[in-house]
Each structure stands twice: as C-alpha cells, then as structure tokens.
C-alpha cells in the first residue's frame, strides 16, 4: 500500500509538470473561442448566415410578391431568409451547385390565377442532396409557408371579393389584399418567438460554455498525452514484480490525471467568474461558487479521464495515441452536440448521444449548471468510468504479457 501511495504521489508530481502546457493551451483555445463567438454574434456574419432561397418564375404579380416579401420580413431574428430572383431555372441550378443557395422554388406561370380556379398549379422546391439536418428542413418549411400563405390569403380575398360583388360593394383587389395582410398578419404580431433553450433547457451562452468546457477536457487529455501514454512497459513490469499490480498502477496514474484536469477546470471557471459570463450564470457568479462548480463537475472529469486513459492504454506510441485521441474527441464532440446543438443534428445522433461518454458528461454538466443534478446521471457516469478503468486494467495485463521485454 505504501508503494501505491508513493507511486500516486510521484504521478501527481509528474502531472503538475504538465500544468503550464495545459494552461497555455487553455489560454490559446479560450482566445480562439472568444474570437469565434464574437464572429458568430457580429452583424456581418449574421447576414452571411441567412438562408438564401432562389425564386424562379413570375413573382411580379402583386399578391405573390407581397406573400414572398412578407415571409422574407417575417422574422427579424437571426433566422433571416433572403429570396433571390432568377430569370431562368438554369441560373438557379448554377448557384445551387456553387453552394450559394440552400435551394430554389419554381413558381409556375399563372400560379396566382390558378388559385381562383379548380386547377391549382403547384410550386416546386429543388434543393441540393443534403442530409436531414436543420438547414434543408427549415428551407422546406419556408417554401411550404410561401405556398400556404399565398394560397390561403388568396382564397380569403377571393371570398371577400365574391361577397362584395353579391352585395354590390365596389372593391379594389389590391386594397383588399393589403387590408387582409395588415389585419391578419401585421408584421409585429405575426410571429412571437419564444426560446425554450438549446436542448436540456440551456440558454445559448450556457450551451456554449458547457460545450467549451467539455471540448477543453477532451483536448487537455491530448495535451497531456505524454503523461498517460506507456510507450515501454519496463516500469509497469518491474512494479508488478515488486508487488504493485496493474490495478494499483492504473489507480495511481488515473487519480493524478483526474487531479490535474480538475485543477485546470477550476482555473478556467475561476477566470470565467471574473468575466462578464459570470453575470448570466449562477454556477460561476463568484469565484467561490465557480470553485464549487468545478468540484461538482468532478464526475464529468472522471469519466472523460477514464476514457482517455483507456485510449492511451490501447496505443503503443505517441503519434498513434495523439491521432486516436483527436479522432475520438472530435467525433464524440460532434455526435454529442458540443459543436452544434443536439436538436439541430440528425435524429440518430440524438438517440446515440445520451449513451456516449461525452453525451453523458454534457448532460451532467448541464444539470450542474441548471442546479438540477440527477442521481441517475451521476450513477451512469460512475458506472461508465469504472467500466473504462476495468477494461484499462485488462489491457495493461494483456500488454505486460505480450509486449517484448
């Protein structure tokens, strides 16, 4: 037992040597994240993020034009839509191929007139072959809105016009249309946007903060790779010969790895508690609370560290370990919604994420930030961490028996 404690103490000493590199990395990645956020929230980039939909066909007709214009100005939030006119379908196809359009709609000739007859012509929508993600879905919805909006408003106006004719009231169809639009769909009251949050009830900034922390935890594992990788098994073998078995060795390495990550996490949260982020997050409102939050996030750190120790145990050299960690980290971050909110990703990701280590860690971190920690999440994290460590011990046993001495 004495030797195990000594091994743990030496590993902690060793881990501390990686602290400056990890902090420097945090500083650089934090700077990059701030730049990225600023770029995302700046007005210029919002313009660039608009959904651009091409319109091929005649929108010169008053009613159709008003419909399209209304949809275009429907929502003043960042989900802004631009409709671009194209004289021919070929030009729209060219732009679509260049990636300048999300898709385009083709309005058949005499579309509006056909609405007042039995033979309704249909608007067709053409999009690039993209996966079932938020952009094409949103675009399809918008196209439906245009068709429905124009169709229904036209029907309503026709009905009013028909009634006016019966009762001998003189009407101007344009005025009727505008009155209809103003009374039914005045722009200010046409839509009311309520944001319920991005998955788990998180606000946008909390989501960004948690994502940043999870990504950092994963990347710290890469920065401190030299700490965890075992390129030669001489020391583990001698330790085993001297009575320090595989479980004790992994214990010593794991605890120190967790410790160094928690220290880094605490430093980041403490730094954030002095920033403007602290104003909108109770979990980091003061340095003391931020420190407690870092402690509360210990199960997340334990899970991610156990996963990383496991990956390092599988790899025989630094290059393969680095690549394996990077690939795993990026894939897990993407699937579990650290790069994009989970509800904007395909449903298969939403199904998988809660069962993956990164997804579990994200959910638990969200619970910590919302102050709604669930005992089952905690249990899941613990079970997952233990499972990784047990497999890790098995791997080390296997390597000791196989690798050349």
């Amino acid at each position: 037992m004495n030797k195990v404690i000594r091994y743990l103490a030496l590993n902690i000493k060793r881990a501390v040597k990686f602290l400056p590199a990890m902090l420097l990395f945090t500083l650089i990645s934090g700077g990059c994240a701030i730049l990225l956020l600023s770029a995302m929230l700046s007005s210029d980039s919002i313009e660039k993020q608009n959904l651009k939909i091409g319109v091929v066909g005649d929108i010169g007709e008053t009613f159709l034009n008003v419909g399209v214009e209304t949809v275009q100005k429907f929502d003043s939030s960042r989900y802004y839509v631009s409709f671009l006119d194209f004289s021919t379908e070929e030009k729209a196809i060219d732009e679509l191929k260049k990636g300048n359009l999300e898709g385009y709609v083709v309005i058949p000739e005499g579309f509006t007139d056909s609405l007042s007859t039995d033979e309704v012509k249909h608007i067709s929508y053409v999009s690039a072959n993209t996966p079932d993600s938020i952009t094409p879905m949103l675009t399809k919805e918008l196209v439906n809105i245009i068709s429905e909006f124009v169709l229904e408003s036209r029907k309503g106006i026709s009905a009013v016009q028909y009634a006016a004719d019966i009762y001998g009231v003189e009407t101007d169809s344009y005025d009727l249309h505008m009155t209809y639009i103003n009374s039914v769909l005045s722009r200010d009251s046409a839509s009311q946007t309520k944001e319920t949050g991005i998955g788990n009830g998180l606000g946008f900034s909390t989501y960004c903060l948690i994502s940043f922390l999870i990504i950092l935890m994963l990347l710290w594992g890469i920065v401190s790779g030299a700490f965890a990788i075992k390129e030669d098994m001489a020391l583990p073998r001698v330790m085993k010969a001297r009575g320090i078995n595989e479980a004790s060795q992994i214990f010593g390495e794991y605890i120190s790895f967790v410790m160094i990550t928690v220290i880094n996490l605490a430093i980041v949260l403490l730094a954030l508690s002095f920033s403007s982020f602290a104003l909108s997050h109770e979990a980091i409102e003061t340095p003391m609370v931020a420190f407690i939050t870092a402690i509360k996030l210990l199960p997340c750190v334990c899970l991610i560290a156990s996963m990383q120790i496991f990956i390092y145990e599988l790899c025989r050299n630094r290059v393969s370990a680095f690549l394996a960690q990077l690939l795993c980290s990026l894939t897990l971050c993407y699937i579990c919604g650290c790069f994009y909110p989970l509800n904007s990703l395909p449903s298969i990701f939403r199904t998988l994420a809660p069962f993956l280590p990164c997804g579990l860690a994200f959910d638990y971190a969200a619970e910590v930030f919302l102050d709604e920690v669930n005992i089952f999440s905690l249990a899941a994290l613990t079970v997952y961490s233990l499972a990784f460590l047990i497999v890790c011990i098995g791997c080390r046993k296997h390597r000791m028996g196989r690798d050349k001495i």
Binding site: L10, K17, A226, D232, R237, V238, K240, G243, M400, G401
Partner: protein, 224 residues
C-alpha cells in the same frame, strides 16, 4: 541460501521459447547466460519474475518462488534491458518510489547508491541522463529492498568503461555479501566476474564452464 531452477517451459502459441531450463546456484555466486538476440533470455527472466506465466519451479531454499509471490518480490531484484524509470522526474524522485526518505539519504551517503555513483546525478531528470546513468539508477532502484537474488538483463550493454566498472564493483560487492546474481550479457569482459556460464540456444540451456575466450564461445554459440 541456494536457488534451483527446474524444468522451466514457456511457449508463445505453438512456438517453444524455453524448454526444460534447469540451473542451480549457491549463495555468493554469479551466473551468466549468453545467447543470440531473440534466444529467450529476457523471456526466462520474465518467467522467473512472474511477469510471464510459465511452467516449472524456481526454488529458493526449497520454497517455490513461482507460487509464493510475496516472497519472490522480497527476495528477487530485477533490472530489465530498458531502464524502468519515469523520464519526467529526477533520479531522487525515481528512487523515492522504492526507498523511504531516511533510507534513501543513508544509501546515498554511504550505501549502495553511493557505490553506484548515483549521488553525482541525484537531481538530474531521467530524460537528461546518459544510458549509463539510467542503468545505474535502475540497479539502484532494483536493490532498494536488499534482494538476495538479482536478475540483470544485459546490465552493461552500450555503456562506457567507467559505468561498467561501477556496476562491476557493485556486483562484486553484492556477491561478497552472499547474493546470487543471474545476468544475461553479450559482453565477454563481463564473464570474468561470473562463476558459471550458460548458453541459451534452441530453447535449451547448456552449461559451459571455464570458457573465457571469445573464439571458443562464438564456436559454442554456433555449433551447439
């Protein structure tokens, strides 16, 4: 004290690495095992240390060290080819894994660590050390529990003469103190200090006593 190694067998899959390996040694003796690269010397040490499972017996005063793990870790010191050290830490830190603080100070002042010259690079990080320093430090770590049996896998390979001299001095002292040394080597000069020489070839161990010149040894390695 005496040791008996009886019928050690070890295979990897269908390949036999060690076949009926037997040898005996008494207190204060030094045994050298020679063999080509890949002949199974390191595997033999690993089996004796319990790092690899093998068949047979490793008896010390009649007690089987293959079965009595605690006794084995108490009696046996092992130095593998690659020094088992933590590269980011200093010599002192590495020694702290195996020595108590007081014990360490004592050994550095006038004990085995001084004899090995470790006090000269006590505060140097392992990654900045030469091969010889690492080897001496590895031996220093291996003998912290004062073992009676020392297994050394190529202890002086690629070392300069001064380092070899320091290690040879220590081994002579260990031998004088009644310890049993089993070492593998490719170094003819090292054989002078050995009482018995064995050659491991074709998975078997052959005893070759009193052969000292290079030519006859090479002949034995080729022909046996």
């Amino acid at each position: 004290m005496y040791i008996e190694i009886k019928n050690i067998n070890k295979s990897f899959g269908k390949t036999k690495i060690l076949e009926n390996i037997c040898l005996n040694a008494e207190s204060g003796s030094c045994i050298a095992i020679l063999g080509e690269n890949g002949s199974g010397k390191s595997t033999l040490f690993s089996v004796l240390c319990g790092l690899l499972k093998g068949e047979g017996e490793f008896l010390c005063n009649g007690r089987d060290l293959m079965k009595e793990k605690k006794l084995r870790s108490k009696l046996v010191g092992f130095v593998p080819q690659e020094p088992p050290l933590i590269p980011e830490l200093t010599a002192k830190d590495n020694l702290m894994l195996w020595y108590d603080k007081k014990e360490l100070e004592k050994e550095l002042d006038c004990g085995v660590l001084k004899m090995l010259g470790i006090h000269e690079f006590y505060k140097t990080e392992v990654r900045k050390m030469s091969g010889g320093m690492k080897k001496r430090l590895a031996i220093g770590c291996a003998v912290s529990h004062k073992p009676h049996i020392l297994l050394l896998d190529e202890p002086t390979s690629a070392l300069d003469l001064l380092c070899k001299e320091k290690i040879a001095q220590y081994l002579a002292d260990f031998k004088k103190g009644g310890g049993i040394t089993v070492l593998s080597t490719h170094d003819i000069g090292e054989l002078d200090a050995c009482d018995e020489i064995y050659i491991l070839k074709n998975s078997r161990l052959f005893a070759y006593d009193k052969i000292r010149d290079t030519k006859s040894l090479i002949g034995c390695l080729k022909n046996e």
